[in-house]
């Protein structure tokens, strides 16, 4: 168990910088999920914590020790790899117990611990099998057991569920969370799957192009995305975006079409004349009879999701989606009104993509004096 702190951590391969100055404090026992598209530097970040990649600049500390120059074995981290990386020529028991064998743990103790850990992940009956004789889910469990048995201070997961089918993925997700709660090690989990990120994390770290876009609890990130990137990346179906200009007099954003979308007076007052992107989540909009809503759109088609329906509309040359629980039957091309309440509107600066707040951020995140 240990906190992890990263200060201005950078990674370059030759002239290419892939991680641009990451600052992050991870509390002891926290479950952190680093979320981002492939190539955003999230795996590199994880591998730098593990010690499998050198740190080009900056500092990483685990507990109170700066680990920049420590070998992986001296860092107290265990890692679960994307392809599991099980030793193909060893049995399940040998795979799980390899770290103990290397450490010189006496055989009797080793066997007892292997048996206990294997039983805890439901592998008790498979100890003599080889990895090649196991299913994907079982291999995943062996990889987990191999990490658990070392009683690490830090658990690192590198997209460990991406090779599993959808159902097993959910099941293993729950299992990982259970194990985390039981062992209470600090966990860092890297994934590109936002559902995994949202459901597993105590705090989410959203990365893009080697930079941290936002850090926060899943609900903070969903409710108050810090940038258009985060707004668009988190949430499925994805957020709708519209461009416009803030007008103080009418507390609204005027779109190119001339339509107006109401925003809170406080925001409008502070940002008069600013060019913005409006983000609206599909479930925050409602469909109303044509002419009665904020905008008038044309219905295109519907996607059945079971629990609800996703209605696709055309507005000007944009596609907007509305997620609704009720089942309406609409003809393609039918005019539909869209109601967008001011509380549902996220505003982002059109140039920087950063969230536009009613008050400066420093005031929102006021630190008690």
């Amino acid at each position: 168990m240990a906190k992890i702190s990263m200060r201005d951590v950078r990674k370059s391969y030759g002239k290419d910088q892939v991680v641009h100055g990451v600052n992050l404090e991870i509390a002891n026992g926290e479950f952190i999920v680093v979320l981002g598209p492939s190539g955003c530097g999230k795996s590199t970040l994880l591998r730098m914590i593990a010690g499998l990649e050198t740190i080009t600049a900056g500092q990483i500390a685990i507990g109170d020790t700066v680990v920049n120059d420590l070998e992986p074995r001296e860092r107290g981290c265990a890692m679960v790899f994307q392809n599991y990386a099980l030793y193909p020529h060893m049995t399940v028991a040998e795979n799980i117990g390899y770290a103990l064998k290397v450490a010189g743990t006496p055989k009797a103790e080793r066997m007892a611990r292997i048996a206990a850990v294997a039983a805890s992940v439901g592998l008790g009956d498979f100890l003599d099998r080889r990895p090649g004789q196991l299913s994907g889910g079982q291999r995943q469990r062996v990889a987990m057991a191999r990490a658990i048995i070392r009683e690490p201070r830090v658990f690192l997961f590198d997209e460990p569920l991406s090779n599993l089918d959808a159902k097993l993925r959910v099941q293993m997700r729950h299992e990982i969370r259970r194990i985390h709660n039981r062992i209470a090690a600090t966990s860092v989990f890297v994934t590109h799957d936002q559902q995994e990120g949202m459901t597993l994390a105590d705090r989410l770290v959203v990365m893009n192009k080697g930079v941290i876009e936002q850090v926060g609890t899943p609900s903070e990130i969903y409710d108050q995305p810090a940038s258009t990137y985060v707004g668009g990346f988190i949430g499925s179906p994805a957020m709708n975006f519209l461009s416009g200009q803030v007008d103080r007099a009418t507390h609204s954003v005027r779109l190119a079409s001339g339509d107006r979308i109401d925003v809170s007076p406080a925001i409008a007052a502070r940002n008069h004349g600013k060019l913005v992107q409006i983000g609206v989540r599909p479930e925050a909009m409602t469909m109303v009879p044509a002419g009665q809503g904020t905008l008038n759109a044309t219905f295109e088609f519907v996607e059945e999701l079971g629990a609800g329906r996703l209605y696709h509309m055309m507005f000007e040359d944009l596609t907007l989606t509305v997620l609704a629980g009720d089942r309406q039957t609409l003809a393609a091309g039918a005019p539909v009104g869209l109601h967008i309440p001011a509380s549902a509107v996220h505003l982002f600066d059109a140039d920087t993509g950063k969230r536009v707040e009613a008050a400066p951020l420093a005031v929102v995140e006021q630190v008690p004096a």
Binding site: G51, A85, A99, R146
Partner: protein, 293 residues
């Protein structure tokens, strides 16, 4: 196991024909001829032969020189294989660790395989020459201590070193390819498990190399029994005192110098059977310990 089935077609037969012709002319035909000669008494200058049954084999097997030749062939095969594969493995392990300059080593280490055996033998003539070679330095320390044309064990050592040097390259390529085929994440998992480089070699890389190891063992043993002629001929000529008279070399001297075609043919058949038997033994008893993953 994937299998593909093809229908017979004339195009395929025509395309295969040149290769089949070559195999027929240079392998099946001479082999059949040797088999026939082994059971007859062939006249040195042609002009008919007489069927003698197993008499040629009986003569060969009761010849103490022949058993000496078998003995030194086995020594040569075992020593060359161990030396060549051991060196190749060590070199491959280091080339795989990407130590400074590994690209240059990698290419340099492959070259010897392209050198013809007689050329290897000739080069090593200069290395082992008691008067002028690198080893002649030993004679400056204690005159007469090194001379492969006098001391049998030195002659054997010479052909073993030359033979191994030539075979290292082949094994090296295969070992290196196999090492590079081991997924990086496996080594990384072992790193996370706390294993240092030497430990990873022993616990991870060597076990995963066993299929390659087995393949190379079969190839190297076979090669050192059948492909050593060039080196012996140029380096020692089978001497001193027949101490390096390997089976292939003896077949040549008996057949083409002593013109005992029948005896040489019988020896060829025995050598062929021996290599087949050895390969069989290796597949039967060693392959069991191989992990194919």
């Amino acid at each position: 196991m994937r299998r593909a089935y093809f229908k017979f077609s004339w195009i395929a037969a025509v395309l295969l024909a040149p290769q089949l012709m070559i195999i027929f002319v240079f392998f099946y035909w001479p082999s059949a001829q040797a088999l026939y000669w082994a059971f007859t008494l062939e006249q040195p200058w042609g002009g008919g032969n007489t069927w003698v049954g197993f008499e040629n084999f009986a003569n060969v097997l009761s010849d103490p020189y022949y058993w000496g030749s078998v003995r030194v062939s086995v020594i040569y095969a075992v020593a060359t294989t161990i030396l060549a594969m051991g060196m190749a493995l060590i070199l491959a392990l280091f080339a795989d660790r990407q130590l400074a300059g590994y690209r240059a080593y990698r290419i340099g280490l492959i070259w010897p395989y392209a050198v013809a055996a007689p050329a290897v033998g000739l080069s090593f003539q200069f290395v082992f020459n008691p008067g002028a070679g690198i080893f002649s330095y030993l004679n400056t320390l204690s005159p007469g201590v090194w001379d492969p044309s006098v001391y049998p064990w030195q002659a054997i050592a010479s052909i073993v070193i030359a033979g191994a040097w030539k075979q290292v390259a082949y094994s090296f390529i295969f070992f290196l390819a196999a090492l590079q085929a081991i997924p990086r994440s496996l080594s990384e998992a072992a790193v996370m498990d706390g294993a240092r480089p030497l430990r990873r070699m022993i616990d991870l890389q060597l076990p995963l190399l066993t299929p390659t190891f087995f393949f190379l063992l079969v190839i190297n043993i076979t090669d050192s029994f059948t492909d050593s002629f060039g080196i012996v001929d140029t380096l020692t000529g089978g001497g001193p005192f027949r101490s390096t008279d390997l089976m292939v070399y003896k077949i040549y001297t008996d057949g083409f110098q002593s013109l005992d075609y029948s005896g040489a043919a019988a020896q060829s058949i025995i050598l062929m059977l021996l290599v087949m038997a050895l390969t069989f033994v290796q597949f039967r008893y060693i392959e069991r310990r191989v992990h194919y993953t």
